[in-house]
């Protein structure tokens, strides 16, 4: 029947319209001449700055291999959600940067390409990486699903002039840090600036402060142990910089990324900040020279464990369902090559992840040595368990809330912290099926 045929055709047309809207655009093919999509994290002073730094490096890759790279730079507050969405929908980039602390969690999704023997060989072998850095690539006992790209560590930056004007020395333990910060705090300047509204920064310092007390966040089975006294007291110590020591401007509770705190430091509003070594780029772009500030390890209380950082950094992962596996592996090999690494080490101020390479991110030899020492000798890795990212999300958000409470005039006691940690732990437990 003709009419029925018309109806059928109309329906088919409507359906195909919809389906076309949903279908993916990528197409297969051999490495040369193909295009891969690359999600880069925000490492420079701004998303635009990242594009400027990376574009010539990616053009060089295209010249060498004929593979085009479509670059998208993503800010830290969005990156994790973007990755989740990509994992869920299966519509992701070919290669992407991840915060190395998420490695075990993302590995557990099964959405990323394991660097097994063959793949590892294709990118130049595991021997080329610093072992500490490569260990962050995934849970122990499995082939890693990410390889190190940039190495980072936390340090305590201090303004040399403000310190000598106040007649103080850089602190070697927590008590000195608080005393120094109080001396630097007057009506206009503060001792410290914290990214107190950034969940990633907050959870990092919850971890580091708790670790100095000997606190653990997961037991050997991977179950959360957020509410231990060591953890609660570590968090309290960090919060108290704003709450009882009053050496942090309460406005910092709205600083949702680390760059805002770094800017305060570089413009002389505060005497100290805690930051990873990539802050150098932002500090210099604000007009502060590298001989005007010094870096010491983030100090622990007297008698506590000398832990100042975790081996932080950025890793590179490949989506398992990539249609350009060969090109993606070539790209990872290129990005982790000595040549590319040396090009990016300076603008991104990163520590080397390649074995036997000296840090070149700064002209300041003392700073380079300090960061290398912190990274090698004073670091404790974040838990390499599948629930790590949930620990970051729930505890980080709880920290944001507690800083907001303090900033708006409420008090946060140890029992408040404990109940906030209990609530975070319940959420993580539920998602683990407990």
């Amino acid at each position: 029947m003709r009419k029925r045929a018309i109806v059928a055709a109309a329906v088919a047309a409507a359906v195909s319209l919809v389906v076309a809207g949903c279908s993916s655009s990528g197409s297969g093919g051999s490495a040369s001449g193909s295009t891969i999509t690359y999600w880069a994290s925000n490492q420079g002073t701004s998303l635009d700055n990242d594009k400027q730094v990376l574009t010539p490096v990616l053009d060089e890759f295209t010249k060498q291999t004929g593979v085009k790279v479509k670059l998208e730079v993503i800010g830290w507050n969005d990156l994790q959600t973007r990755i989740q969405t990509a994992v869920t929908s299966g519509q992701g980039p070919d290669v992407l940067n991840i915060g190395n602390t998420w490695a075990a969690s993302l590995q557990a999704t099964g959405a990323f390409l394991p660097y097994d023997d063959a793949n590892m060989k294709a990118i130049g072998g595991s021997d080329k990486f610093v072992p500490t850095a490569l260990k962050t690539g995934g849970a122990e006992g499995k082939p890693v699903t990410s390889v190190p790209l940039y190495g980072l560590a936390y340090g305590l930056y201090y303004n040399k002039k403000m310190f000598s004007d106040a007649g103080i020395q850089p602190p070697t333990n927590w008590e000195e840090l608080v005393t120094d910060a109080k001396k630097l705090t007057n009506g206009t300047t503060y001792g410290f600036s914290l990214a107190a509204g950034s969940y990633t920064e907050n959870v990092h310092f919850a971890f580091i402060n708790a670790s100095q007390n000997g606190g653990e966040w997961f037991d050997s089975k991977g179950n959360p142990t957020f509410t231990s006294t060591a953890n609660v007291q570590g968090i309290k110590r960090y919060l108290d910089l704003m709450q009882t020591d009053k050496v942090v401007n309460t406005s910092n509770a709205q600083y949702d990324n680390g760059v805002q705190a770094v800017n305060d430091f570089a413009t002389g509003k505060v005497g100290m900040i805690l930051s990873q070594n990539n802050a150098d780029a932002s500090i210099v772009s604000n007009g502060m020279k590298s001989d005007q500030y010094g870096v010491v390890p983030f100090p622990a209380p007297a008698g506590a464990k000398q832990i100042a950082t975790f081996p932080a950094g950025i890793n590179l992962s490949i989506f398992k369902n990539t249609k350009n596996k060969d090109a993606a592996l070539k790209f990872v090999k290129y990005m982790t090559s000595e040549d590319t690494q040396s090009k990016l080490a300076k603008p991104y101020a990163t520590l080397p992840v390649l074995d036997g390479v000296k840090p070149t991110f700064t002209d300041n030899a003392e700073e380079a040595a300090t960061f290398q020492k912190i990274y090698n000798d004073m670091s404790k890795p974040l838990p390499l368990v599948p629930a790590e990212d949930q620990f970051e999300n729930t505890v980080g958000k709880a920290m944001n809330d507690m800083f907001a409470k303090i900033a708006t005039g409420s008090t946060v006691s140890e029992s408040d912290i404990k109940s906030a940690m209990q609530s975070a732990q319940d959420q993580v437990k539920q998602s683990l099926g407990g």
């Binding site: 409507a14 919809v18 959405a111 969940y199 944001n400 708006t408 099926g433």
Partner: protein, 327 residues
């Protein structure tokens, strides 16, 4: 909402032929056209609303966490467990949901109520002809015409503590005593989000009520004025009853939009830093899903929200329709 007029659609009328006794049904020419015209709407409705909704309900019975997210099919079936956790108000997950629910109820009452009052006041004020009426009508609709994101981002800037226009105006220009408060964190966050939501919503109430007022014949007002009715009495005894059908729909739509509001808290507070005082339920559910990759739990909360809204809507329509019938 009209219930008395029964509008018949373009029903297919069978032409009265000379009644052939054979029961063979002959379709009239062009019988398929209505179906063809409806087809795209039905297909898209199914694809865009019904299928995702059913998928969501299905997910709420699964333990869909990150271990299974790349391959949904393998997620274990857990029955009502996700619901049990969400409704266990002694546990922290249920407690959080309950708190968020109460925040949302307060938020909805304030936003819908005040938006309606503002919209009604503006619509009545602009009912009379006067010079510049068109200008005000346009001006009042600006928030509704602005792109959502641009509008809320501007509010976000204005609400900043140290650099925002609001604190600058209140404390630097008007010289209020005391410290500048935070608007986007702590307890004030609730008032900030109420203000922004009203700013967004009231032009809609204004637009609907203004349209409704056009249908009230001016003779009624003139007659009542002759009888000595003052403006407030006219409003209470003529305007309100005549606008009842408009109000019935308007309040329901505003309630549903406001209770479900996701964009306002998401843009105003950012995806990671929403304060407890502004923890609206849609956003709470989003966080419950994405903070811990626990999509089964988030889906269960969504289904509970859907049920709640269905019950409220059903009860509301029942009451409104009964009143209309009695009127």
């Amino acid at each position: 909402m009209s219930t008395t007029t029964d509008v018949r659609g373009p029903a297919v009328t069978v032409p009265a032929e000379a009644a052939p006794p054979k029961p063979k049904r002959r379709r009239p020419k062009g019988w398929w056209l209505p179906f063809l015209l409806l087809a795209p709407a039905i297909i898209f409705e199914l694809l865009i609303h019904v299928v995702p909704m059913l998928t969501g309900i299905w997910i709420s019975f699964l333990q869909l966490t990150k271990f299974y997210i790349a391959n949904w099919g393998e997620a274990p079936f857990v029955g009502l467990k996700n619901y049990a956790v969400a409704l266990d108000f002694s546990g922290s997950v249920g407690q959080g949901l309950l708190k968020s629910f109460f925040v949302t109820v307060g938020f909805t009452i304030l936003v819908v109520g005040l938006s309606w009052v503002l919209g009604m006041a503006a619509a009545v004020a602009l009912q009379e002809r006067f010079r510049g009426r068109a200008f005000f009508r346009t001006l009042f609709l600006v928030p509704y015409a602005l792109p959502l994101y641009a509008g809320i981002i501007t509010w976000k800037f204005m609400f900043q503590k140290d650099t925002g226009a609001i604190n600058h105006f209140l404390f630097d220009n008007l010289g209020l005593p005391g410290d500048k408060p935070f608007w986007l964190i702590g307890g004030n966050a609730f008032w900030s989000i109420v203000i922004v939501a009203i700013w967004r919503l009231w032009p809609f109430a204004f637009l609907m009520l203004m349209a409704g007022l056009q249908s009230v014949p001016s003779e009624v007002y003139e007659a009542s004025a002759v009888d000595g009715a003052k403006p407030f009495r006219q409003w209470r005894s003529i305007t309100l009853p005549m606008l009842r059908p408009v109000n019935a729909v308007l309040l329901l739509v505003m309630f549903l939009w406001t209770f479900n509001d996701f964009n306002t808290p998401y843009v105003l507070f950012g995806s990671t830093a929403q304060p407890a005082a502004g923890d609206l339920i849609s956003f709470h559910i989003y966080n419950a899903s994405f903070l811990t990759w626990n999509f089964g739990s988030g889906a269960a909360m969504s289904v509970l929200l859907l049920l709640f809204l269905l019950i409220v809507t059903g009860a509301y329509l029942l009451v409104v329709n009964r009143r209309n019938r009695n009127a």
